[in-house]
Amino acid sequence: MSEERALVAHQFETAAQQRSAATLGMWVFLATEVLFFGGMLMAYTVYRVMDGAAFARASHAQNILLGGINTAVLLTSSLTMALGVHAAQEGRRRRSVLMLSATMVLGALFLGIKAVEYSQKFAEHLVPGVDFRYAGPDAGAAQIYFILYFLLTGFHAIHLTIGIGVLAVIAFSAARGRYTSAYSTPVEVAGLYWHFVDIVWIFLYPLIYLIQVYR
């Protein structure tokens, strides 16, 4: 009990209070994040309603296969994250470190594939403001599509990078035996963040890649 008390910060009365505060804090932060991405999705909605056909044509430049692989990679990373949280809650140190590391590797793999896609866009002159040559009747709307593509996936990638950094710290602490079955809040809270980043991609993938299939 005294060991447990030592992990409670001075402003809290009990470990349970500290835990619910940390969890609620992350949920509130995620609410902020939803609105942050919401601003861009609002812009996407407006322009797609204005010229949906142009958006669909522009989306042909996307590589559905790479996007699909990335979706699978990120979904798998959510699975390993959930397993890592579960292992930490059960106090299984080795397993939680392994799962957290797997999550980071999958996240990095996602970023690597994303980088390949970005470089293809540069090669195909599809980067607005830097090098944009679009052969088609609706170059204006296509340009907006690619601006929003880079904004949405760029901010998503930044979030993912931060997520990998957070997991690196968490995995390091886990390896040193910081988390026990009595105290694993940081792993859980990091897990919430990771799942959020994953869910954002679940929205981005159809909005960016799949509109060509739908039409």
Binding site: Q11, F12, L24, G25, E33, L35, G129, I144, I147, L151
Partner: protein, 538 residues
């Protein structure tokens, strides 16, 4: 009287000296003081810009500053006052100081995040300040595209980055308050036993958390458009300028409620304490705060009646704007009902409370003029709008802030402010404020547009009156600045509870000890039990 004297007991101010003990503190009370110093600095910076504008408007000709300089003055006045003074004012100063104490906690839920939010504020502030000193910005605080993204030749990007950074400070403070209020209330302190100030902080925090990120992403898209020259909002590049306005006002209209709700919370505390009566209609007061916060998210389109949005959208936004008036009026009537048959003690804080009620009522009612579709066409972008929102923001929010500062000054410093001077300053501010802004209602109605540095000669008399009022107002702000500093050394010892007020913050010695409470208090009843004094007599 408290057995503690300010010099003997250990409290948050004498718990450590030197810059490290302040710059690395995680004590919510010290962070509140850091915020108070920073926002006071920005208040005087913003006031200086306003002073130059009023000086220019003394004469019809543009004889003091050029049109370009004047554009920069009103832009930087707005940016400084909105983002670096008004939005952080009551939440970050009084909220930081009081929220943990009012809920009976030792600190906010995330003390280090709290300190981080101050540092983010400072970085954003210095960024913006540097951008202002080295060239300024001339877009207006609203950054309307395509002017801001394509045509303006001023420091748009650095200022936008500064505001983007600042937003995270607001979000972190709000997040801290929401979590603290949810999870750290003292035993027995149920939601309907909370002081109304806490309800106000809660409603404000919800707006901050949900609206600020939209501003951040909007400014980011504006920056992308300006840096890369690609069209998101510029119609010449294929973008939609109305989209920018929608996104901007989705944040910036709720931002008005970020400014006024905390002041409503303060005024509720002042009125009930100095009327020595339980607040009238506690639950209605709490729910009307939440109602203003939620309906306030749905009215942004009333800034765009003449922007070319659809007439049906205009009608809906107009109707919703009228609906906000209902919870606002509930609050005004309930304050009046609280005062009715109260035994009112006319101390300085309640004078600011009275000022707030009167000026907020004028500001709110003129808001209904502006929410009416046809009338708005006439007064849109005139001084009528300027007068309206200054009645809300200065007459409302700043009066609330000053009232709160006076009310809790004894708690924060352990010293009383000089009552005579304080009453005098409150009177000067009230007179100066009305003389500054009431003529602007008339000017606007007569057709004087905002944001011009020259005007037809027939408007001069009213402009001279307004400038004279601004001078009085400026002096009015300097008086408390001087006597509050004076009181730190020479003020009378305040004791634990000079106002005989209810509320957990008054149970602690003044100034409070570092961890606020030796024993976490147990709450057994409703707030504002002043009624006892009346009922016992009967």
């Amino acid at each position: 009287m408290s057995p503690h004297s300010i010099t003997t007991h250990e409290h948050y101010l004498n718990a450590g000296y030197g810059p490290r003990s302040w710059l690395l503190t995680t004590d919510h009370k010290r962070i509140a003081i850091l915020y108070m110093l920073s926002i006071t600095f920005f208040f005087f910076v913003g006031g200086f810009f306003a002073f130059l504008m009023r000086l220019e408007l003394l004469t019809p000709d543009g004889d003091l500053v050029s049109a370009e300089t004047y554009n920069k003055l009103f832009s930087m006045h707005g940016i400084t006052m909105v983002w670096f003074f008004l939005i952080p004012s009551i939440p970050s100063v009084l909220g930081n100081f009081l929220v943990p104490m009012m809920v009976g906690a030792r600190d906010v839920a995330f003390p280090r995040l709290n300190l981080l939010s101050w540092y983010i504020y400072v970085v954003g502030g210095l960024f913006t300040l540097a951008a202002m000193i080295f060239g300024g910005v001339d877009t207006g605080w609203t950054f309307y595209t395509p002017f801001s993204s394509t045509y303006a030749h001023s420091n748009v990007i650095p200022v936008v980055i500064g505001i983007f950074i600042l937003g995270f400070s607001s979000i972190l403070t709000a997040l801290n308050f929401i979590v603290t209020i949810h999870t750290m209330r003292a035993p027995g302190l149920t939601w309907f036993r909370l002081p109304l100030f806490i309800w106000a902080m809660y409603a404000t925090s919800v707006i901050l958390v949900l609206a600020t990120p939209v501003l951040a992403i909007t400014l980011a898209m504006l920056g992308v458009e300006r840096i890369f020259g690609v069209g998101i909002f510029d119609p010449a590049l294929g973008g939609d300028p109305l989209l920018f306005q929608h996104l901007f006002w989705f944040y910036s209209h709720p931002a008005v409620y970020i400014m006024i709700l905390p002041a409503m919370g303060v005024v509720s505390e002042l009125i009930t304490c100095f009327a020595r009566k339980k607040v009238f209609g506690y639950r209605f007061m709490a729910f009307s705060l939440l109602a203003i916060a939620s309906v306030g998210f749905l009215v942004w389109g009333h800034h765009m009646f003449v922007s070319g949005q659809s007439a049906y959208a205009g009608m809906v936004f107009s109707a919703l704007s009228f609906i906000v008036a209902i919870p606002s009026a509930v609050k005004v009537f309930n304050w009046a009902a609280t005062l009715y048959k109260g035994s009112i003690a006319y101390h300085t804080p309640v004078l600011y409370g009275f000022g707030f009620i009167g000026l907020f009522t004028i500001g709110g009612l003129t808001g209904l003029f502006l929410a009416s579709l046809a009338l708005d066409v006439h007064v849109h972008d005139t001084y009528f709008v300027i007068a309206h929102f200054h009645y809300i923001m200065v007459g409302g929010a700043v009066m609330g802030y000053l009232g709160g500062i006076h009310y809790w000054w004894p708690k924060m410093t352990g010293r009383m402010y000089p009552e005579g001077w304080a009453k005098f300053a409150a009177l000067v501010l009230f007179v100066g404020f009305n003389l500054t802004f009431f003529p602007q209602f008339i000017l606007g109605y007569l057709g004087m547009p905002r944001r011009y540095h020259v005007y037809p000669p027939e408007f001069q008399v009213l402009n001279v009156l307004s400038t004279a009022g601004a001078t009085i107002l400026g002096i009015g702000y300097l008086i408390p600045f001087v006597y509050l500093i004076w009181s730190l050394r020479h003020g009378k010892n305040a004791g634990r509870n000079p106002w005989r007020a209810t509320g957990l913050e008054w149970l602690t010695p003044s100034p409070p000890p570092v961890h606020n409470f030796d024993e976490i208090p147990v709450v057994t009843g409703e707030p504002y039990t002043y009624a006892g004094e009346e009922e016992q007599r009967e």
